[in-house]
Amino acid sequence: MAHPLTIALFGITRDIVGASSLTLSIEKSTDVDSLLDQLRAQYPRLTELNSLLVAVNSEYAEGNQLLKKGDEIALIPPVSGG
């Protein structure tokens, strides 16, 4: 069963998506890597980011971490300005 997931966006990912957050429907037993694949298919410019931190419930998540209903996701790219 699919369920919706809200993803907070930071830095350049905000500009690529054109919003500060997005909602996505994911299948059960989706992990972080497949979520990223889904997002990259929808927003091809995300592919250009070779470093992108995914946080799940305010914690750094590895690619194989499974996502649960209600998880809070954030996409955090590196930022260069100073």
């Binding site: 930071f10 350049i12 992108l52 914690e59 750094y60 955090i76 930022v79 100073g82």
Partner: protein, 373 residues
């Protein structure tokens, strides 16, 4: 021991029970290197100077640009075109002359980074590009130094303390634990391209300065193992917990030719007018080089000075000795700094000193009979 004037200057620190004289002494014993004297560097430098850090180094290759002034609050409109590090230290000295300053008008590069960073206890990353951010990470990890990271994008900022050794002896995460690979500066744009709200670097820089003070004094909880995200549009703050990767040390210097070159490249060294006066009075063999124009020389000059105007330096390099100290001066210290940089980089000079404040400082502080202009 803190002097009486230090006790007055830092009175409000001394009143804090967690801080006290002990905390102030720790600050005084610390050496901090600020990489980048731009949006983040300005507040970091101002507050660390005010706080009474013992030695403050600043490295930046840039000159002040009119478009910097919207956020780089250390500089003034009439300083456009001047080297940032020179102007920064000029202002900071007036704020607190008990701090020892070192400035390097150059970029942090692979060739100079290790030599420079090893002389400091903490590095503050206030740069505006990924190349230097990753270089700071890699050199600090290789030397075992902590660094305070800050970065900004439009209305949001990131702060963390990386490679920090906790009380239990364990090292915290590094920048590459969050972002292992260096993105191209083309895929992730910087402020120069996408803009930034002026107050943001002030805010983020202040977080960085606060972390520096906390880690040096041991007051409070250092922002290690966490990335702080600040958004001024929504007024939100969140922290993301991050662990050190077991291979953090293996991630550094991934590019070929990763071995560090330890080149002996001198930075811009300087001398005050009081020091020069004392050395000349003591009869030390110093070559004084005046790089102003003839009309300026005619207004006033030091009796022992040799005049070689800046634009004629390349044709007169042979007239400048390399076997004894050479003090280079102009009106205020900017042209002479440029001449020193040129001679060091192109002709391998290692014996040059910039006269701080130029002949103007001499006229004001040493010889009041000298004409000032």
């Amino acid at each position: 021991m803190l002097s009486l004037s230090e006790q007055t200057r830092y009175q409000k620190h001394l009143l804090l029970p967690q801080f006290g004289a002990e905390g102030q002494e720790k600050l005084k014993a610390a050496r901090v290197l600020v990489v980048g004297a731009g949006g983040l560097g300005c507040p970091v430098l101002l507050y660390l100077t005010a706080a009474g850090v013992g030695k403050l180094g600043v490295i930046d290759p840039d000159t002040v640009d009119l478009s910097n002034l919207q956020r780089q609050v250390l500089y003034r409109t009439d300083e456009v075109g001047q080297p940032k590090v020179l102007m920064a230290v000029t202002h900071l000295k007036k704020l607190n002359d008990q701090v020892e300053y070192a400035f390097y008008h150059q970029a942090l590069r692979r060739e100079n980074a290790t030599q420079l960073i090893q002389d400091y206890d903490v590095v503050v990353d206030c740069t505006d590009n990924f190349t230097v951010r990753y270089l700071i990470n890699d050199v600090c990890v290789s030397l075992g130094k902590p660094f305070v990271y800050g970065a900004i994008h439009q209305f949001e900022g990131q702060v963390s303390v990386f490679n920090f050794r906790n009380q239990d002896g364990k090292l915290g995460p590094t920048y590459r634990c969050l972002f292992p690979q260096q993105p191209s500066d083309l895929t992730v744009p910087n402020c120069a391209e996408v803009g930034v709200i002026g107050v943001l670097p002030g805010l983020i820089g202040m977080y960085q300065a606060s972390e520096v003070v906390k880690m040096l004094t041991g007051v409070g909880k250092v922002l290690t193992g966490e990335l702080l995200l600040v958004d001024v549009l929504e007024n939100t703050q969140q922290k993301v917990r991050v662990k050190r990767r077991p291979d953090a040390e293996k991630l550094i210097f991934p590019e070929p030719g990763a071995e560090l070159v330890n080149q002996d490249e001198p930075s811009l060294r300087s001398i005050t007018v009081a020091d020069l006066h004392q050395k000349l009075e003591a009869g030390e063999d110093i070559f004084v080089l005046d790089v102003r124009n003839l009309n300026e020389y005619d207004i006033c000059h030091l009796p022992q000075a040799v005049l070689i105007p800046m634009n004629t330096i390349p044709n007169n390099v042979k007239r400048i000795p390399q076997d004894r100290p050479v003090v280079v001066h102009c009106h205020h210290g900017t042209r002479s700094a440029n001449v020193i940089q040129y001679l060091q980089q192109n002709h391998g000079f290692r014996n040059l000193y910039n006269l701080e404040g130029g002949i103007d400082a001499w006229a004001r502080q040493v010889d009041e009979t000298m004409a000032a202009y």
